[in-house]
Amino acid sequence: MLFKLQKKTLIISQIIGYAFTLLIGATIILVTSQFYFDIKPLLSQETDLFKTKAVVVSKNITVFKSINKEKIYFTDEEIKELENQPFIKNISKFNNASFKIKAYTKESEKVPGFYTDLFFESIPQKYLDVETEEWDWDPSLDFIPIIIPENYLKLYNFGFAQSQGLPVLSKNTISLIEFNIKVSGNNQIKRYRSKIVGFSNKVNSILVPEDFLLWANKEFGRGDKNKTSRVLIEFKNPSDKAILKYFNENNYSISKDKLEFSKLVFFFKLALLFVFFIALVIIILSISFIIISLNLIIQKNKELILNLYNIGYNHNRIAKFYQIFISSTTVLLIIIAIFISNFTRNYYIEKIVDLLDFTSKSNYILISGMSLIVILIFAYNLFIINYIKKIVQPREEKISKL
């Protein structure tokens, strides 16, 4: 009877408006947050080949710098400043060889003879993206392992070898070829056997083991201070947007691939955040809408509520209908939103799996939907009870004071 009476007080169009906006808001919020969780690993590069998240940084070379070479080197202050950046975890310098190096082979049936000037650099081994057992330098062996950029091999195979009618070489073949290295400086000359033991994708340089280079610089080096033109930087989080900003401001050049990606990630996150924010606004609007609507319903039916109170219905019983109605509407809608969100998730995961190496993450839609239900229902019930109490009870408060 009470419900029948109160049912007539509802304004259906407003309830539908609430239902519609809540459904849209809740669905978008559930989908975007789940989407974020799902693709987060792709964004934060946990699946990256480079475990260390390190990149090579150098200064941009301009016309002026090519005249004054000193400017391509990092000063001690600049290195210090880099070290102090919050997004940088670690910095390692490239060591240069400060002595003359020549590589040569004697012509044989297997390999054409060559003779070339060379340079060496070295980086700490942990930043190498090449795994090889031959990297250790043994001073007693007169052997130097070398790593070259993979690009060099491609350049040779697809460019040089093609045009000069030379044989193409696989990585394995190259690794078998031994050649000679002549190191000179400080009035000393020493010859070594050498071999290419690996190919780097990350470091564009000819690398030798760091302990060899340090030793050789002492032995053969010109003795001038080791200048740094390139540094290896290890980031805490490579998608940190501060990184790009800093390097642009300081005109440093950085191996772009990763940062292009992080730029993309930045905009993507921004877009996702924006959608999330819009959905939040929609939900807040729908909540305000239903609160205003309830307010209106209660005000419009103030007399009815007071009459009910007068014939003996307390505020809890009067509020019960509105509580049940709003709660069940909200629960129903969010359950629908959960279903739609799950459906949408299955759809996009199917697409992502086709495109990328993707392992499905835990599904938070249900739990976030449920939390939304709990929060909303708690808020609504509190509001309705208190509002109806306020309408009917000013008198009682006065009585209890007397």
């Binding site: 009470l2 009459n307 007068n310 014939i311 008198r395």
Partner: protein, 197 residues
């Protein structure tokens, strides 16, 4: 209120007025002298007064809970729900305590000559019909006091007779008191005490 009006009052001039169980009181006064206010104060829906109201000698009570089982009230403005039928209006009140069965309610409706309108919306009734509904609704709960605020103002002699009979029977059955207000003298009940305001 002016002094001359107060001087005639049987209630406001006394330190206290006692309403006892099982008796019938008539409160008589002209329009605007506070008959409804007095009943509202007793019912607990008006707190704008000085002094104390004691129930069973105690002023520390929750008047709201009295509305279910101790005090029933026929409001002057009836407080019916126009969008419900006669039966639904009564059942809405009866549902709080389930004091009367459907048959008993139907019998009451029949007694006040409204059985043909049982399922009509109250908004379509005349004032006199509404008054009858309000009165029988007030009987559908256990009570120790029945407050009636000018209950017969729109009823003819015949209906007044019927209603007073039903009310008297119910009062006797529940061993309850009647506190009724009226503009002048009425002879529908055997009042134990007539009070002027």
């Amino acid at each position: 209120m002016s002094d001359s009006e107060i001087s005639e009052s049987d209630i406001y001039l006394q330190e206290s007025v006692l309403f006892e169980k099982g008796r019938k009181y008539l409160i008589r006064a002209n329009s605007g002298h506070g008959k409804s206010s007095l009943l509202n104060i007793i019912y607990g829906s008006n707190a704008n007064f000085d002094g104390n109201i004691n129930y069973d000698g105690s002023s520390n009570h929750n008047t709201f809970s009295f509305r279910e089982s101790k005090i029933s009230y026929v409001f002057q403005d009836l407080k019916l729900f126009p969008d419900l039928t006669i039966f639904e209006n009564i059942q809405l009140k009866n549902g709080l305590t389930n004091n009367k069965s459907v048959e008993e309610i139907d019998h009451l409706i029949d007694q006040v000559l409204l059985s043909h309108k049982r399922d009509n919306l109250v908004r379509n009734l005349s004032l006199g019909q509404k008054q009858r509904v309000a009165i029988i609704r007030a009987l559908c709960q256990p009570f120790e006091f029945l407050l009636m605020d000018e209950p017969f103002s729109h009823l003819d002699e015949k209906n007044c007779g019927i209603i007073s009979n039903i009310v008297s029977q119910e009062l006797e059955k529940q061993n309850a008191s009647l506190i009724m207000t009226s503009l002048g003298d009425t002879s529908y009940f055997d009042y134990d005490k007539i009070l002027n305001l």
